[in-house]
């Protein structure tokens, strides 16, 4: 969750600067996740898990530098094409979004929770309760419609509700401290040596079409609300493996097994921005953080954003395009520098992350109460992680809860309490079906969707 670090640094910047910083880091994190996957066999973030499968074996064969450069190029191809896809698709979807009324939005929010829970979790009930925890927290504070305090237990601090940034930083950054204290020593893999860096033209040429196919798959997976980059990299890898003539070399250091998931997850990162910008529904945990930042800057994503604040939309897209080229330059010649950063010792890194989180939240709200709340979220996140309850639905619930409730209540005001109004349009029926299917189908596809385990260190 690298995107959290600049979150703290962005508080002092103006809206455009903060947005450019965040989007650059958003793409940067997707690029960067693979470095530790390849060198240490530890995925830098969840989507990078698939990159360990062939990346680490390649590195063990002494081809670490090739794997890094190849995956850098694959990331570039995936992200660049996805950004172009975003430019083409977002304005169209923004037009469609004008057809969305309260019942369609309600169904869309439901779809986001269902697909996120259905695809990412091992246990649907645990994903569902995580969404409920988030939605439940979102209800705390003044009721939007009546202005009456709700679930505040008479506490003045809770009148404004619980800030989603407090929850995000707590659940991701603070949780990491506890997890690290516990797991210290166990998660250390022996790193591989980085050889001389040169561009492996042969591998790039061989896997070029794999990159293109994976980009398409990743982009589509990213556009689906709730599915996100992990699904993109997973599907890209699996489909590349299934059409390959040399299936059995996948998992033993096949360059296409490195290129496919990287192109897939970067394309998904671009795709996830489509529903986020046009409908205000984030496609993944990282886009949820990006949405939180936009809301903090008083920018509300949705179809109106394209007409009213075109400079924000196109500024963001321009930032993505520039970030892409900068990242390619940084990731190919400068990869050695990043490998150095990987060796910052944990006893310095984790206290540093803690201090940045606390100082960032404190300078935003100036309230010790928020810091205590953030610590509590950190502890909650630790227990959730232990019990295998996903935390991203909690964030999504806190972010979308009020909107989801408002759309339900507005729909009922329009229909004067007639619940069948929720299923009255073709779009909403389609979304309801997709939501139910997105939640139930993975139960039956579980064996098919099982994530492969990391190679032995």
């Amino acid at each position: 969750m690298a995107i959290l670090i600049p979150l703290a640094f962005s508080f002092g910047l103006d809206a455009t600067q903060a947005l450019v910083l965040m989007t650059s880091v958003y793409y940067g994190a997707m690029y960067g996740g693979r470095i530790s996957s390849i060198l240490l066999n530890i995925p830098g973030d969840e989507p990078a898990l698939m990159t360990t499968l062939d990346g680490y074996p390649m590195a063990k064969q002494g081809r670490a530098a090739d794997a890094l450069v190849l995956s850098g190029v694959a990331s570039f191809v995936g992200a660049l094409l996805a950004t172009i896809g975003l430019m083409l698709m977002a304005p169209i979807l923004a037009k469609v979004a004008y057809l969305f009324g309260p019942p369609e939005y309600f169904a869309l929010y439901l779809l986001a929770f269902c697909t996120l829970g259905g695809v990412s979790a091992k246990n649907q009930a645990k994903a569902a309760i995580a969404s409920m925890i988030g939605l439940g927290i979102a209800m705390i504070g003044l009721d939007n419609q009546t202005g009456m305090p709700r679930l505040t237990f008479g506490d003045l601090h809770l009148m404004d509700g619980i800030d989603f940034l407090v929850a995000i930083v707590g659940l991701f950054a603070v949780t990491e401290i506890f997890v690290f204290i516990e797991s210290h020593g166990k998660e250390s893999a022996i790193g591989v040596k980085l050889g001389k860096i040169k561009v492996p033209f042969k591998d790039i040429a061989h896997s070029f079409f794999a990159m293109l196919r994976s980009t398409v798959i990743g982009f589509v997976a990213g556009v689906l609300p709730g599915a996100g980059a992990s699904l993109g990299s997973f599907l890209a890898y699996m489909s590349e493996k299934s059409i390959a003539r040399d299936k059995d070399t996948f998992g033993t250091g096949n360059p296409r097994g490195v290129a496919a998931p990287e192109a897939g997850n970067n394309a998904a990162a671009g795709g996830a921005l489509v529903p986020m910008l046009t409908l205000g529904v984030p496609g993944s945990g990282t886009t949820a953080v990006l949405l939180a930042l936009l809301l903090t800057l008083n920018i509300t994503p949705g179809p109106l954003l394209f007409d009213e604040r075109p400079e924000v939309v196109w500024g963001l897209i321009a930032a993505l395009l520039i970030a892409n080229f900068v990242l390619l330059i940084m990731n190919v010649p400068l990869v050695r520098l990043f490998v150095k950063i990987l060796s910052v010792p944990a006893w310095l890194l984790l206290p540093g992350i803690t201090m940045i989180s606390f100082a960032g939240i404190y300078s935003l709200s100036g309230s010790s109460f928020d810091l205590l709340l953030m610590t509590a979220f950190g502890l909650l996140g630790y227990f959730m992680r232990k019990l295998d309850v996903p935390t991203v639905p909690i964030i999504l619930g806190i972010l979308l809860g009020k909107n989801m409730e408002d759309s339900l209540r507005r729909a009922m005001v329009i229909s004067d309490g007639d619940w069948t109004y929720l299923f009255s349009s073709g779009i909403s029926i389609g979304l309801w079906i997709a939501a139910v299917a997105g939640f139930i189908a993975p139960m039956f596809l579980r064996n098919l969707l099982r994530k492969p385990t990391r190679p032995q260190s």
Binding site: P351, T375, V413
Partner: protein, 163 residues
Amino acid sequence: MLTNDSPGPERPGKFLARRSDRIFGAIMIAIALFYIWSASQTQVSFLSDPVGSKTFPYIVGAVSILCALIFILRPDPDPPWPRLATSAKIAFAVVVLIGFAVSLEPLGFIIPAAVASSLISYQISPKPFNAMAAGVGLSVVLFAIFRYALGLGLAPFGRALVG
């Protein structure tokens, strides 16, 4: 609750096997009931809509209870819980963070940050010199970055120290 000194494979057949999910389910049911009760105490405005302020929290509470019942009836295998010493370390880190949170206002950033990051660093790697250096270095460097490069309103020393 945190500790389970034999984090090995679960022992099926024992009544208490898979208790983590069961305990979690029971706690969630208690919280959800309390949540529903709190929602029922919400003051209703005369300007109400057909759904009202209470329905959505009721739905949230009801679905939570349903999920929690599933955990109790069909629990997953227990995760490996940390040993007592590790749990104590985590608990200590929580105390440090709470202390940091409440001392930031009266004492300012630099001293609480130095103490808190030293203590956390020491929990991760018990080398006193490294921990002290990490604490002092981080607090000064980060303060300088936050204050002078980003212009965030952090006080170096709080009212209790400067007056």
